[in-house]
Amino acid sequence: MSLVAEAFVSQIAAAEPWPENATLYQQLKGEQILLSDNAASLAVQAFLQMCNLPIKVVCRANAEYMSPSGKVPFIHVGNQVVSELGPIVQFVKAKGHSLSDGLDEVQKAEMKAYMELVNNMLLTAELYLQWCDEATVGEITHARYGSPYPWPLNHILAYQKQWEIKRKMKAIGWGKKTLDQVLEDVDQCCQALSQRLGTQPYFFNKQPTELDALVFGHLYTILTTQLTNDELSEKVLFLSEDGKW
């Protein structure tokens, strides 16, 4: 969001309390939603629950297109629509609920860094697995992504999205990576998270923060989603500490 728009939104947001009918939109849970989107959605739900804010989950086939930034999930609160975890966290903060107030500066920096790490590695790996690994694409992704639409739209949309994701992968340098390298990166990321977590219940102090929500969203989804390649979940299983959730 631009600076002006953000200031505006914060002002408006601060004015009203959290309404009862806040809704979160995501794609159809059973047939359509993909691994990465599911992870993101779960992260937001976890975050809102940690803040004790009620939210209703609504599934729509065109959630991706409804969203202001093209990403799911997005929340509809009062008369505002905010998408993606980052802006949602700020929005919620403007309403007066924040999970990371108790952290000092260094910890806040670390939290942001770790969130970037998860976004950079885990999310990208999920996207890679979904869209660039031919086996998964053929068997699962295409079918799921285009399921609400009639032929030939389902194929067209799926190919379009795949092409877009592949371009993005190439731009960030993941285009040439093999699946093994990607899994290695995931491994590294999980190791890092595991080291950071240690034996504490949450990443920082005794309170959950948005980082915990994000990590939970991704890990839970990876562990509970059936893919052609189960190596991803195997890697994640090593993090036994997170079983507490």
């Binding site: 969001m1 631009s2 600076l3 930034s69 093209g70 990403k71 500066e105 260094v106 806040k108 920096a109 670390e110 942001k112 860094a113 770790y114 970037e116 790490l117 976004n119 950079n120 590695m121 371009r167 993005k168 731009a171 960030i172 340098g173 491994d187 590294q188 990321c189 190791q191 890092a192 998270l193 595991s194 080291q195 950071r196 240690g198 090593f238």
Partner: protein, 470 residues
């Protein structure tokens, strides 16, 4: 204990408390056993016999420098720089590097050193290196010739050449170079400005001692780690995790802005035409200067667009503002994380420091018109001090490098003047010739081959007739 024998692989008695915890087995953060002076180890009595060590041949020392060698060197510097005077035939590039580094370190660490002229210092560093090899081990770089004679060809690093007081102007090259300096890896550095001359076609590129060529910066660093030049050895697992996290943060927030700075550098047309293209075109030989800058520009533009395409900015200005805002936030976060420490993880540099330094150095030193980010960075004093500290410590002579010629504004104008005028005249002449030629060819003007005597009179008559008709 200091002489001969194979490189010590068994850890010293001062065991690392982190050793047993690294059971997860992923070696990215360097758990290879090394004779690595631990942070806690006191100055060992091994330093006590300088004279015996001076004449020794250096076994293959693949250990890496730690702060301990700073203090160790300080003790030896004063004593040894007067002693050893052999001319080192192989005292090539790495030697001056270590000399300067050790000189700088000595100036930091020891009250007893006196400023010494460079040659003596070189020899002193050499000798000091020889004597402290058991503990510091970094001085293998000081005897590259002897070391090189015993192992395979030394590693060669190809990177972009320097400018603006930095050893290299490319982000990745600078990071790899800094890491190599931190660890004292004996690299032969080729600074070139023609990516085709590098073995892999891109810069930076590392040619290992086995002839293999690696060109991804992270892989280069991994290779150096495998060759036991590991700056992250002392890091705890948690610090290693922090490294990963902060590198992701850098990549996500600062990289687009460095590219955007490069964007103002490459893509802002005025700047591009006046400064960038000229510099690169002059630095690069024909025929690269024609298409390489354009190609790089397109690459950066595409990456920027793809990455920002997610946000669907209304226009370029919005995008730029948002990028700058995120970058400022990132810089502030880095500053908070650094606090008052000398390096990110205590007193010794790690790979994260190499990357952060390369980003910050480029942002600070690049002379660009859009100074918002620079101004913000200058406001974060601990980051500026961090940059200058690393620059002075590890690249002291590079700081005196002359910036590429014609980078100053006065330069281009005076240089351009004669050519400018000539070009103008030539273009006017060419235009005139084209017009006249066209006129002749299309028949607007025709040259009649009449006798010169009659021609003026007929023409005068013709004109008189026309006047009358009017």
């Amino acid at each position: 204990m200091l002489l001969g024998g194979p490189p010590r692989r068994s850890p010293r008695s001062g065991t690392s408390p982190k050793g047993p915890q690294s059971s997860t087995g992923h070696v990215h953060f360097g758990k290879s056993p090394q004779t690595w002076p631990r942070r806690t180890r006191p100055r060992s009595p091994g330093l006590a016999a300088p004279s015996g060590v001076r004449g020794s041949t250096q076994p293959k020392r693949r250990d890496f420098p730690r702060r301990a060698w700073l203090t160790a060197l300080s003790r030896y510097g004063a004593r040894l720089w007067m002693g050893r005077r052999p001319s080192l035939p192989e005292a090539r590039g790495p030697a001056p590097r270590s000399a300067a580094a050790s000189r700088a370190s000595r100036s930091l660490a020891s009250p007893e050193t006196s400023p010494s002229p460079l040659p003596a210092t070189t020899r002193g560093a050499v000798a000091g290196g020889g004597s402290v090899q058991g503990r510091a081990g970094a001085q293998k770089e000081v005897f590259p010739g002897q070391g090189a004679g015993k192992m395979a060809a030394p590693m060669e690093l190809f990177c972009w050449s320097g400018g603006w007081g930095l050893p290299s102007v490319d982000l990745d090259s600078l990071a790899v170079l800094t890491y190599a300096r931190f660890t004292g890896a004996p690299l032969k550095v080729h600074k070139i400005s023609n990516p085709w001359r590098s073995p892999s076609g891109t810069l930076p590129a590392l040619r290992t001692s086995h002839g293999e060529v690696i060109s991804v910066p992270h892989k280069i660093i991994t290779h150096l780690r495998k060759e036991k030049y590991n700056a992250d050895y002392d890091l705890s697992a948690r610090q290693g995790a922090d490294t990963l996290a902060f590198m992701s943060l850098l990549e996500e927030k600062l990289l687009p802005v460095v590219h955007t700075h490069v964007h103002t550098f490459w893509i802002d047309t005025k700047n591009y035409v006046e400064v960038t293209r000229k510099w690169y075109a002059e630095a690069m030989p024909f025929p690269l200067n024609f298409f390489l800058p354009g190609r790089m520009q397109r690459q950066y533009m595409e990456r920027l667009q793809l990455l920002s395409g997610e946000h669907r900015p209304e226009d370029e200005e919005e995008l730029e503002k948002e990028l700058y805002r995120e970058a400022r936030e990132c810089l502030t976060l880095l500053s908070q994380r650094l606090g008052t420490q000398k390096f990110f993880f205590g007193d010794a540099p790690a790979s994260l420091d190499a990357f952060v330094f390369s980003y910050l150095a480029l942002l600070l030193q690049a002379k660009l018109p859009n100074g918002k980010l620079q101004a913000h960075l200058r406001g974060l004093h601990n980051l500026c001090a961090y940059c200058t500290h690393i620059l002075s410590l590890y690249f002291p002579w590079d700081g005196a490098e002359v910036p590429p010629p014609r980078h100053t504004p006065a330069g281009p104008e005076t240089e351009e003047e004669p050519y400018g005028r000539r070009n103008q005249i030539l273009s006017v002449l060419a235009g005139l010739a084209a017009m006249v030629g066209y006129a002749l060819l299309s028949g607007i003007v025709s040259i009649q081959r009449a006798t010169p005597a009659r021609a003026p009179s007929t023409r005068a008559l013709g004109m008189a007739e026309e006047d009358e008709e009017e």
